[in-house]
Each structure stands twice: as C-alpha cells, then as structure tokens.
Symmetry: C2
Subunit: 316 residues, 2 copies
C-alpha cells in the first residue's frame, strides 16, 4: 500500500515505541536516515531503538547517536517497525526481532512495497531527503544531532553533490541543515577516511593498470595472489574511469580459483550487453559478470569482448 | 579603494567595452568567473573580451565560451579592465595590453586593493559567488551558459561543497544555477578527468608510500628519477592524508640535484613550524619548505623533524 507523505508522518506520530532499521552493509544513507529519524522521534518524546544487523564502518563514528545502534539479538515489542532505505528483505535478523507492523520509507524505485505500507519517493536523491521532509511535516525543528545525520545521508548518496541525482531540492535541504550546525568539511573528512591497508591495496591495484582499444579502455587486473590480499575493491575502478579519453573501465579480480569477476563502467558503450553475454547483468554504464576460467584466460576473454563491443559501437 | 557591491555593479554597468582577466595558472574559479561575467555582460549588450595569459586545462573545455579566451598579444583599448580572483600582479601580460582603469573583484583576503578599485568579499567561497551576486544586482537573468561557468567556479573552489568555506549561501546559489540547466554530474565528471600519464604517475608515487611515527605520519618520496618523470604532483598528497589515524602527510620530491621540496598537510600538528625551521612557510595545516641536500639526506632530515615535532605536540 503506497502512502503519501502526510500518511507516513501520521503513522510515525501515532506510534510511541518504535524500532528503526535499515539494510545490511549499511552506507551513509542507511545509517544517516535511521539515526536522523531516531533524533527527530526522540525530540517528539518517543521511545526509539535502532537496529542494524551489520558492522557500522568507522567513518560514521562522528555521527551523534551512532553508539546507540544495536545488533538484533532478542525479541522485543514495538508499535511500529520503520524500515528505511530498503525493502524489508535486506534487514537481516531485525525482521525476526519484532512482530510490529512495518512502515517502509525508501527512495529506491525497485522497492515494490508489496504487502506493507510504503512511502516511496524515487525522485529523491536519498532516503535522508525524505527524513528531512518528514521532520518538517511533523513540525520537529532540526537539532545539530539530527541535522548531521540527515546531511550525511544526503551527501553520501549524491556523491557530495556531484551525481546526476543532485537536484536544487538537495542543495537547499543541505543549506538548511548547515544552518543547524553541520560542518560540511567535518563530514567529508570523516567520509573520505581510508585505512592504510586500503590505500596500500589501491596502490598495488593501480600498478596493474593497462590501457587498450587505443586508450579508450582501461583495466585493473587483480590476479589470484593480489585478489586474496585485497579485502575490498570498492572505489578502485573510480581511480581509472576518470582517465581522459577512456570510455570503458574494467576491474577484473579472482573470487576463487578459476572464478573471476569483471566489473565494468562506461561513458557510452553498453557494458550491460557485454556482461549479459557472459551471464551477468547491470545497466548500460555499469555492469558485471563472472567468468569461470583461469585468470589469464578471463583477462584475454573480457578484453577481447570489450574490444569487439567497442568496435561494434564505432561501426554501428 | 574598497567598493560595495552596488558600486562594483555600477562600474560594470557604466562601461561598454570591457576586458576581463584572471590569474595565470588558472583554476575553475578564475576561468568560471571570467567566462561567467563575460556571458552576463554580453547579455547586457556589452562588448567583452577575455584574456588569460596561460594555457586553459582541457577539463574546462565543456564550459560555454571557453574557446573565446584569448592569450594577450597586442594592445587594445577598453573602458574597463576587470581583474577577477586575484590582485593584478598575477595576470601576466594582460596588464600591459590596455591602459583601461581597473576594477578588481576578488574573494582572497590577501588582496590589499592598494591603488585601485576593489570589491572584496572574503566571506565568499569563490569569486564566482560574487559574479552570481553581481548578475542579480545587475538584474541580468542567468542563462545555461552563464550558470554553467559560475557554478563551476563555485563547485571547484569549495571542493564540490566539501570544504569548510561551503556555506548555506553556497548551496543555495548552486541550487539556483542548477535551475538554469547546470547538470552537476557533467561538471564533476569533466573536473575529475585526469590524463593517463597523471594516473600512472600517481600509481608510481603511491608505491613509495611509507608510514612513520607509529602510523600517525605518512610520506610519499619521489626521488630524483621519479621526480623527473612526474610533471605535476597536484593532488598526490590528498591520496594519503585521508588515511585513518594519520595526522601529518608529507610529499618529498626533487626539484633538481640536491634541491628537495617538502610539502606537508596536517590535522593537528603545526607543520608551518617545521617548514619555518627550514626557511619555508605556510599555515598550521599546510606548509612547505626546500631542503638543499641530496634526496636520501633530505628524506631522513624531514622525517626526523616531523617525528620531533609530533613528539613535542604530544608532550606539550
């Protein structure tokens, strides 16, 4: 059942004891929206607990209330379970924790809302933009605490105001939150923090950089040894997709022996076609696939496929 | 002579033939403010030429009118020479090009304005924020062309809304400019573009990364061979200053044989003190100095100085 904003606000107003949750592998918007709404609802005098069934990355330790996020362990009663920034299928054990009715708040167009009350606004850059609107609808003034959390979710989900989802609404919401004491440099410095291990891994990954298709394609190639060393490759492809003249950027890594994973980004070439031809998928500009073969063969195979796709695009 | 905004607008309104210029080694704010003001003044029916005495980085090729920026070569007459984003001592030969009276528009607090008409607002994150205000004062509606140029200067001077100089005013100005057709992702993608050579150089520089002082300091060490290979080290220190737990980040490179340049960034330790002790200077959080000695000796010397400064800070 799809709600309108006033109905979502009404559901929050009518509950006294609330459990808030968001998706596993939580990002800035998952953490910011649960903590932001927690502050808003507590400012209304409500009893609120936040559960996320995963570790919270240390980058978020600057957010007020982050130490109050709990891991779900035992059953509890509540008037309302508010599921933020995801459908309820990605909230881990939190769903089993309470029988409370669900209010789902999200900005992902893929959320179908079947069998539950859903407030969805896919035009918003972040679920935190919706929490910002709900606070205004509920007439709860922002505090530095709520503003910091809501701002962080907005800023991280729109790449610090650099992605296509950044709208005038996004900028004006951020402006208002800054007036409640958010310091953008404090948030951005915390978010850009990386461990030494990650920077060292990025350095090793960059050493494998190769360009092909006359400089219009670039790849990072993490063989079995290097892949085993590197915990996460998040953000690695961003370092090379920015190279002038590059259309397709590739990251190839080994998941296990003879199982290689290719991630592709593009500025024009339809990389989802390439991914689909190997049983993978994605979008025109971001796609991935798995190649069940030794690394050297996977490397030759995916480079060949990208070359052929780019030749085709140029002819077509 | 310091002007107020209406007086600066009046000076622009009273001139019919204008030359606009900005500093050498032009950045997004220099280019954005001259081109942005060019569009605004042309929309008023004025005759405007833009001169910058330097190459324009290819990142800015997306800006409307960038192809009309000229290098100063011959004398010309004008009613007004508008110097943007700098005092007139950094505009190269453009100053010799015309005898027109100067109107100086800047946001750098260091601009003393001696002997010329200056509109200075050091509270603004970018000279482009002032151009935005001038367009409104002159009642010239923005166009997509002027908005893209002005937005670019604002976004680049505040690190895409992530530096401490980002204010609610900044966000709201950007919001308004987006309503005239600025696509933030188009601008950010153009700005983050790097050449293959630069990314390759970053990769080699990262390979030299060493941590010291128990992980609280990190350095990149470009010896004579590597320094000769690398054209620009802009942004290199940013890759390592974001490491968790790091207070001081260092980049050491060779300018020539036995002449080494150290650049330092810090989150707490006063690096200007370290720089000053070697005859350099800067601010608490960003400073640099030259060490006239072989690379290996320079490396040992600066690491020792940083270690001692950090020990002192911890004791003090």
């Amino acid at each position: 059942m799809n709600l309108i904003l006033t109905e979502a606000a009404e559901a929050l107003r009518n509950a006294q004891k609330l459990v808030l949750t968001a998706h596993e592998n939580p990002d800035g918007d998952a953490i910011g929206s649960t903590l932001g709404l927690m502050h808003v609802l507590r400012d209304m005098g409500k009893e609120v607990r936040v559960f996320i069934d995963d570790d919270i990355p240390s980058n978020f330790s600057i957010l007020p209330g982050v130490d109050q996020i709990e891991r779900p362990t035992e059953k509890m009663t509540a008037d309302l379970l508010v599921v933020l920034d995801t459908a309820p299928d990605r909230i881990g054990r939190t769903g089993e924790l309470t029988d409370a009715p669900i209010l789902n708040i999200d900005h992902h167009i893929s959320n179908d809302g079947e069998g539950r009350r859903l407030y969805l606004d896919a035009a918003r850059a972040a679920t935190c933009e919706i929490v910002y609107e709900l606070a205004k609808e509920l007439r709860v003034p922002f505090t530095k605490e709520s503003a910091m959390c809501i701002y962080t979710g907005i800023a991280t989900d729109c790449g610090f105001f650099s992605f296509a989802n950044t709208k005038p609404f996004t900028m004006r919401a951020a402006a208002e939150l800054m007036e409640y004491g958010v310091e953008p440099n404090i948030i951005s410095e915390a978010m850009e923090q990386k461990t030494y291990t990650v920077v060292k891994a990025m350095s090793k990954a960059l050493d494998t950089m190769e360009i092909f298709h006359g400089g219009q394609a670039v790849g990072l190639f993490l063989d079995e040894g290097l892949s085993a060393e590197i915990e996460s490759t998040e953000g690695f492809i961003d370092m090379v997709r920015v190279i002038e003249g590059v259309d397709v950027a590739l990251l190839l890594k080994c998941k296990e022996k003879d199982v290689c994973r290719a991630s592709m980004r593009s500025k024009g070439t339809d990389v989802s076609k390439i991914a689909t031809s190997f049983g993978g998928g994605g979008h025109i500009r971001a796609a991935g696939c798995t190649l069940n073969m030794p690394f050297a063969q996977a490397k030759a195979t995916i480079i060949d496929a990208i070359n052929r796709a780019m030749d085709g695009e140029q002819q077509g």
